[in-house]
């Protein structure tokens, strides 16, 4: 018997650069049944404690490489596929990051795989602690 885990339970943390907290990040598994080119990601909405992250503050990291959402639309190399069952990391740039303690995240990740007449929209959320 297996349960569905979407957010990496160990992945929520603040991100530091040059000694300063520049944002927060989390690990997320795509809610689809196969891997795909990141270029078919057509929408990323991230909302923590009711505050929606600006689109240009969101970064996507997979297999050690990082892209903005705009850049993601052209990422098609086979080695860059978002593999089935593997976490990709979303970073949200936000000065000071998130306060220590309990939070809630809601996301809406939209992909456009071939053949589906409508986009595949995954609306999920979870409580987490920093």
């Amino acid at each position: 018997m297996v349960q569905r885990v979407i957010y990496d339970p160990n992945g929520f943390r603040n991100v530091e650069k040059d000694g300063k907290v520049i944002g927060y990040c989390f690990g997320y598994k795509a809610q689809y049944y196969r891997g795909f080119s990141p270029s078919i990601v057509r929408g990323v909405k991230i909302c923590v404690d009711g505050e929606e992250a600006p689109q240009d503050a969101i970064l996507f990291t997979n297999k050690g490489e990082t892209f903005t959402l705009n850049e993601l639309t052209t990422v098609v190399d086979a080695d860059m596929r978002w593999e089935y069952g593997e976490y990709a990391c979303f970073t949200v740039l936000k000065e000071g990051g998130l306060a220590a303690g309990k939070h809630h995240i809601d996301t809406e990740i939209t992909i456009c795989p071939s053949y589906m007449p409508f986009p595949n929209v995954a609306v999920t959320g979870t409580d987490f602690e920093i």
Binding site: M1, V2, Q3, R4, V5, K29, Y33, R34, G35, F36, S37, S39, I40, R42, T73, T74, V76, A78, D79, R81, E83, Y84, G85, C112, P113, S114, Y115, P117, F118
Partner: protein, 350 residues
């Protein structure tokens, strides 16, 4: 004795793979344990950095040595034709044909005699790939998945192409989800957990029973799948069913159950016999097999009987799709596949 063979599509183990409980070899091992002799692969699901490793000889040596170890034969390679790779356009005809050729090539390298293509594959992409399919000796099968069906305006579009080109390298892969006598019980149970009322579930079940007894109005051939699907739903009584659910105070769970009921359909098993010359693989879709080996929605005995009568000697490849309705409570695809293979074995050998 029937020559029908049994396979498992590794799609079935998606929840265990997702959770990291099974890797590709683990899926092959579980497949072999059920008594199945065939394996169907979604390369884009279980081969990292697809398609690059398939070109690598060491990767293929490992693949074939695993098949040998578990006594499995490749049955079908599921292709996806990712033709909406870019936001600003659909891939051109040449790009799509080349992608189809890539999948035929990969299937060949991994020993698969058939690729499954999806209903969204444009006719000219299929036609443009036939010469290459013949060259590598891999057939292209289009999945016949609800809301689509055999002996329909949609299927006629493909029959016209088969007759016009005389190709032996294109045909149909029926998905046994088109033989659902009722909506799977796991779907109603999920609706209940979402708060659906017994009254609304009955409205939807009765509407489904009416579609089965009257015969489903078949879907037309239209490259605009969204449009074709909506026409299909409306001509099968979706409007009045939704009105009845809303009149009964339908909540979110009720509306979900009503909408999702169109994921299932009923075709006459005779359709298989009529089209057997064009069927070389089958997705044995299933949703829930109970401990007594009874599938709750798919008419396994009747469908297998039709295949036997038609003299089918291809694979029935288990494709478990009940897991997506159990993710809030837990999924056990391994046990479901074991039961389903036993149900198929009994129907084939019975």
């Amino acid at each position: 004795m029937s020559d029908i063979k049994r396979s498992i599509s590794l799609y079935s183990y998606q929840d265990e793979y997702y959770a990291g409980v099974l890797d590709l070899e683990g899926c092959l091992r579980e497949t072999a344990k059920t008594g199945a002799t065939g394996v169907e692969l979604l390369a884009e699901q279980m081969i990292r950095n697809f398609p690059n490793p398939i070109e690598d000889e060491a990767f293929r040596e490992n693949w074939f040595s695993m098949l040998k170890k578990y006594g499995l034969t490749p049955s079908c390679y599921d292709a996806f034709l990712e033709n909406r790779l870019f936001a600003n356009r659909t891939l051109s005809l040449t790009e799509q044909v080349n992608m189809m050729k890539r999948d035929l090539h990969c299937a060949k390298l991994l020993g698969f005699p058939v690729i499954r293509t999806l209903v969204s594959t444009p006719m000219d992409v299929i036609e443009g790939s036939l010469e290459y399919a013949e060259k590598v000796g891999v057939k292209i099968g289009i999945e016949v998945h609800a809301p689509f069906s055999l002996n329909s305006g949609w299927a006629d579009g493909y029959m016209e192409m088969i007759n016009r080109t005389g190709t032996k390298y294109f045909g149909f892969i029926p998905d046994m989800g088109i033989f659902c006598r009722n909506i799977p019980d796991v779907v109603a149970d999920k609706a209940r957990r979402m708060g659906a009322s017994e009254e609304c579930i009955k409205i939807v079940n009765d509407a489904y029973a009416k579609r089965v007894s009257n015969g489903f109005v078949k879907i037309k051939y239209d490259l605009d799948l969204g449009k074709a699907n909506m026409e299909y739903r409306m001509s099968n009584g979706m409007g009045e069913m939704m009105d009845a659910v809303k009149a009964a105070g339908g909540n979110e769970g009720d509306l979900w159950y009503a909408g999702t009921s169109f994921t299932y359909s009923w075709s006459e098993p005779q359709d298989l016999i009529d089209n057997i010359d064009y069927i070389f693989h089958t997705h044995a879709k299933f949703y829930n097999v109970h401990e007594d080996y009874k599938e709750t929605a798919v008419a396994i005995p009747e469908v297998v009987e039709a295949y036997k009568k038609a003299g089918y000697n291809g694979f029935l490849s288990s494709e478990y799709e009940g897991g997506e309705h159990l993710r809030d409570v837990g999924v056990d695809s391994i046990e479901q596949c074991r039961r389903h293979q036993e149900a198929l074995r009994r129907a084939i050998e019975g």
